[in-house]
Symmetry: C2
Subunit: 298 residues, 2 copies
Amino acid sequence: MNSIVECVPNFSEGRRAEVVDEIVAAMLGAGVKLLGREMDADHNRSVITFAGVPNAVEDAAFRGIAKASQLIDLDAHRGEHPRIGATDVVPFVPVRGVSMDECVAMARRLGERVARELNIPVYLYERAATRPERRDLAYIRRGEYEALKQEIASNPDRAPDFGPARIGKAGATVIGARPYLIAFNVNLATSDLKIAKEIASVIREKNGGLKAVKALGFMLREKNIAQVSMNLTDFNVTGILTAFSAVQTEAQKRGVAVLESELIGLVPLEALTQVAAQALKLPALKAEQVVETKLFGE
Amino acid sequence: MNSIVECVPNFSEGRRAEVVDEIVAAMLGAGVKLLGREMDADHNRSVITFAGVPNAVEDAAFRGIAKASQLIDLDAHRGEHPRIGATDVVPFVPVRGVSMDECVAMARRLGERVARELNIPVYLYERAATRPERRDLAYIRRGEYEALKQEIASNPDRAPDFGPARIGKAGATVIGARPYLIAFNVNLATSDLKIAKEIASVIREKNGGLKAVKALGFMLREKNIAQVSMNLTDFNVTGILTAFSAVQTEAQKRGVAVLESELIGLVPLEALTQVAAQALKLPALKAEQVVETKLFGE
């Protein structure tokens, strides 16, 4: 079965479409496919999602970083979103047939190459981090490009994992590996926001709830219903159906029904197979049993 | 999104592997992929499963029928399984992005071509049938090759849909279209076969139960547990989770728990997406939301 890695580089350009076009064009090629492309003018940032076989994805990420370093000047960049580099952050995400360790190895190899060939300082983050505090992107990015520029040479806490302790117009790049993130919302048959907030508070990991689940309560103003909005940060730890059932149980305790749920963006087949396996008491179900996997994935 | 049709031709050869090899080799080519190959020596029959884009699948089926007509002689064929032709039956099955009507059109076009180019009588069956009684394969195949040979010229009920009302050593071929068949079993936490038989009897269409569901109760001797074994003949009418839930409900009424379930063979992604959509109250979920579909299926 083909291994699939997703990569979601964030570039510090959200206004000049032709620049983003050029970066995307540099990344595409055999073995990778574009899955998404978002530009935000206020953030002055774009988020590109692509996926494919690991080697091709790693090479594509390198080409994107190289191209962005030619086209984006951090000294001239203004935007609402925190950033430290032309290519700000590059996570590798296992989708299928690839371990987290392999994605960590990709991140380290790419980081070393970016430093060597492009002379850009690289910080490893999330599962690829070399220091516990660097798991946290916000920590690495504190003070943004402007602060990093001042401190990188003098502050040992700012020493990059690869590359020079000095920074050019392309800034620094954060590279790492993390699990696939699933954005999953459950709409409640109530207009009482307090109930959604309570449920979110009970089920989220931070408060001792489900592991690898972040949750917030929101109001959907147009529909006048309350929503529990979740990020499942590792569906192999807490899957979609487990999260859904937890919300449903908590809602029932409060006399509220679940209206429906929604998945934002794409999900890996494994995450859906897992839902079906759980719902059908079918532990043996695997993605390989899907006709389409046999047809396209092997 | 790529359209996918599956084709499951049955050939009257289950002993000479080299003959089956040659037929399979004739069918494979650009746009089609082999999914399964079963030979049964007692039945003296092989079942080949392949799938791909509609045009390629239709052409592949023709090449298989042509090759089988050269290599298999029905006058010399003996086997336990009923048959009327070297290529006995050829169903087209919509998997994705293809309607049943399109598969019916494929069956008719292929039937006309087989008659014209190979001079083989063709009967249309299931959803492609031109007479109600011909929906039923067993009806078309009554008396097998030997009876058909005697009656085809004289009995108007035996008149083929395409081709000559006379039969050669390649016999006649039945071509048609049907929904994807899912073989799905639910194992019960009991060794009482009677309970499995009762449940099967309640849920199957024949007794007024779930539409497009065939069900039988079986004993799994090795595990000493009873099983409700189902064929879901159209998952768009009754899906896997609906069937599972019906068995579970009936089991609960009888004080018996469900141990686990099993899916035999491959299932279309749509059938799994449907399970997840139902389990998560997520009506908007579509196969297009799966990363792999974006990567391979478009």
